[in-house]
């Protein structure tokens, strides 16, 4: 397959577009992980594509430093005891159907989550009350320092509650009414979504506040196969790829009219270590393999030098990633060798360590995607350099999660995509053993710190401090080794499109498409 792909890409000619785009029409291929989203219903959906960011707005947004900035709310205030939040709303906002967006809209919107799988997002809110047309207060059941995060996610998008109630399960499929910069024109599941500009839009985030989008029509294509998506970009069939896989970076940069826009990523690749499986039930062995991973070598060799070497479990844009230097995990072969020696594993004649006549031979689980297989081979070589023999076991990407549930893994290579510190609880919480806690960590002190981080804080600052303490303690137990923080790579036709650089947003969504322009 790879040979065929190389053959195709190597000989591909920059042919003319069969379906040339109109002047202000832009066609974009959405990220592969968004292909197959079945609706634009933010209340009930489990998967939403980039279109949902554009049809709807949220009360708050996040900037490029993951700091909260106004969107539909122009300001907000949390009570000192965390038991209420007051949001001042932007005046003059209307839905696509002309209905005004007011404090009462927010009051009517929150109960829509009741009984849905997304209910837990706003479970801490007892009720909302309209103080005035432009001021709404959330009365809390308990303090929720994570509220702004939940409000800023795509699942915190605000649809017109009246249309939502009227359409029922067809909402988000046949019609979707929000306040966002684009209106839904048509949606064919698995094929494409056509959005048209909302000419009344004047409440955008950041620099775009006060004007509608520059482009008139946006078509979001669903293409799961990366080769096909690239050939569409190359031949002018589409103008932009929302996610360029590492395998295609060279192809994009090697084509004259194509450019890459690099944005900070929200995912992280790491190596979980099963703390219950010998020899990793010994913290010294875990420390040894954790410090054996040469993160920068992996960035350069596997990811073409793009992205960052990770030194903790959280993406570096999060303030909770800022642990004290002594808790960071970065390549240190001397420390790796010393830890393994201290655990009683000494190098044998062939360089592999032994203890009590047993070789330090372990398994390393990986998934079948080519990038993971390559990464695993590099990790295998790095472990061998400190005397650890790792046998790679490859599982189908769709089936590996069920394999983890057996708890038989020793080491693995995997990734997550999340931009909140609560991911620590998801992967290391004692009540999540087997999956998603495949490190099988169940430590009493970690559980105490987890509780303090998750529910013990009244304010955002207190939550941040608690999560840093939790993060540091987890790192001290070495239930994983950090590897790599990827970047988001957006490929586009630079002869046709003008993209904002730098983009003042964490992701290319509302602000990116507001700023996107077609060159004359």
């Amino acid at each position: 397959m790879k040979t065929i792909r190389s053959l195709l890409l190597g000989t591909a000619l920059a042919g003319g577009a069969l379906l040339p785009a109109q002047a202000q029409d832009v066609t974009v291929v959405m990220s592969q992980n968004e292909v197959g989203a079945t609706s634009y219903n933010p209340i009930t959906a489990q998967l939403l594509s980039v279109g949902a960011w554009l049809i709807y707005d949220r009360l708050v947004a996040k900037d490029e430093k993951l700091q909260y900035v106004p969107q539909l709310a122009e300001s907000w205030e949390e009570a000192p005891d965390g038991m209420s939040w007051t949001f001042k709303l932007k005046p003059g906002v209307t839905f696509h159907n002309g209905t005004p967006f007011t404090a009462q809209t927010v009051v009517d919107w929150l109960p829509l989550y009741k009984g849905t799988e997304n209910e837990y997002l706003f479970d801490a809110i007892d009720h909302a009350e309209a103080v005035s047309d432009t001021e709404v207060r959330f009365v809390m059941k308990r303090p929720e320092p994570n509220l702004l995060y939940n409000l800023s996610t795509v699942y915190g998008s605000i649809p017109d509650p009246a249309v939502f109630a009227e359409l029922g399960e067809d909402f988000g499929v046949v019609e979707a009414v929000g306040t966002g910069p684009f209106k839904l024109e048509s949606f064919e599941i698995g094929n494409q979504t056509v959005l048209v500009r909302n000419d009344d839009y004047a409440w955008g985030p950041g620099a775009a506040t006060g004007r509608p989008a520059k482009i008139e029509t946006l078509t979001l294509r669903e293409i799961a196969e990366a080769s096909t998506a690239f050939l569409e970009l190359k031949t002018g069939g589409v103008d932009m790829l929302m996610n360029v896989p590492t395998d295609f970076v060279g192809e994009v940069t090697g084509t004259d009219n194509l450019k890459l826009l690099e944005l900070p990523g929200t995912d992280l690749i790491y190596m979980p270590i099963n703390v219950t499986k010998p020899p990793f039930d010994d913290v010294k062995v875990r420390e040894g393999v954790a410090f054996a991973i040469n993160q920068q070598e992996i960035v350069d060799a596997v990811f073409d030098g793009r992205g960052k070497a990770a030194d903790g479990f959280l993406i570096s844009a999060l303030p909770e990633s800022q642990t004290a230097p002594e808790f960071r995990i970065s390549y240190d072969p001397d420390r790796a060798n010393a830890a393994l020696e201290a655990a009683g594993w000494v190098k044998g004649a062939d360089g592999i360590r032994e203890k009590d006549g047993q070789r330090l031979s372990v398994t390393l689980w990986t998934q079948s995607d080519s990038i993971f297989r390559r990464l695993s081979e590099v990790v295998q070589a790095q472990l061998k350099a400190v005397g650890v023999e790792a046998e790679i076991l490859t599982f189908d990407s769709a089936a590996i999660r069920d394999q983890y549930k057996t708890g038989e893994q020793q080491l693995a290579v995997r990734t997550y995509l999340w931009d909140n510190a609560d991911i620590l609880e998801w992967f290391f919480g004692g009540d999540r053993l087997y999956y998603p806690n495949i490190s099988m960590l169940n430590d009493p002190k970690a559980e105490e710190l987890k509780a303090a981080a998750m529910t013990g804080a009244k304010t955002a600052a207190e939550r941040e401090a608690n999560f840093i303490a939790y993060h540091q303690y987890i790192n001290s137990l070495y239930p994983y080794a950090p590897i790599y923080e990827p970047v988001q790579l957006i490929g586009y036709n630079a002869e046709r499109l003008s993209l904002p650089e730098p983009l003042q947003a964490a992701r290319f969504n509302t602000l990116g498409f507001l700023e996107l322009d077609v060159k004359e």
Partner: protein, 308 residues
Amino acid sequence: MLGFAIRRILMLVPVFLAVSVIIFLMIHLLPGDPIDNLLKIGAGPEQRAALTAKYGLDRPLYEQYALWLGNVLQGDFGTAIVQRRPVASLIGQALPYSLALGGLALVMSTVLGVTVGVIAASAKGSWLDQGLMGGVLFGSMLPNFWIGLLLILIFSVSLGWTPVSGARGWESLILPVVTIGLGGTALVARVTRVAMIDAQSRDFVMLLHAKGVHPVVIQLRHVLRHALIPVVTILALRIGWILGGAVTVEVVFARPGLGSLLIKSLNQHDYPVVQASLLILAMAVLLGTLLGDLLQAAMDPRIRDGLK
């Protein structure tokens, strides 16, 4: 003929029930759980328990099966657990794409395959016969995704005649139809050729030659009619395949369809969608087989007499 048709239709009932049990057990006994795909980061064990109960996944398997089958018999396929849409709506959206792609590919493979088979059989043993059959054999050996990518390279990238991918207008159907149709053409051509050669050696053909009937008339009007019986069977059996067997082509050409829906739902363990999709595909195969039998019986009285 009516009695034959009724007997064949009645035979489908136990087969349908057996297939429904196999489909249900197969998906439920596979490792995995749709609830994994519902839980977002931060959701707790109590939410898992609530969702498991909400979708009835905590009930015994036989209860779940009885409930599902009862609903299906009333035409209700339920709601997708992960994709959060009525299953009938998801399948209804995917099916027209599969029917258009598979139907046109079937027409192409039938017309082209029968033509190639007749020409090859008429020139049996000649260089033309060997060339045509060698060509179709080679074509049938190539994997679909490879043919698809090659066609994209030639006709979309180099010549710019067709779109690279998508389901936007009739032009976007050309390359996927040709990709799938080529594989079917090889099969139909080989079956037609063998059946034609077999029919050519029958006594009635010799009699027609002795009576001085023109060879072309013998081939097209008499030999081909007999040779079409196995061809019709093969085509009828392919009805189920063309609906769900185009997954790789759907992926390469970025087209929605029943095959893609099934694979995606399998990956998510979205039980109601997988069960309904498989049941529809199984029904398509069963009905295709029935159609083949009925057509065979219509063309050959010995078959319907044999079942009496």
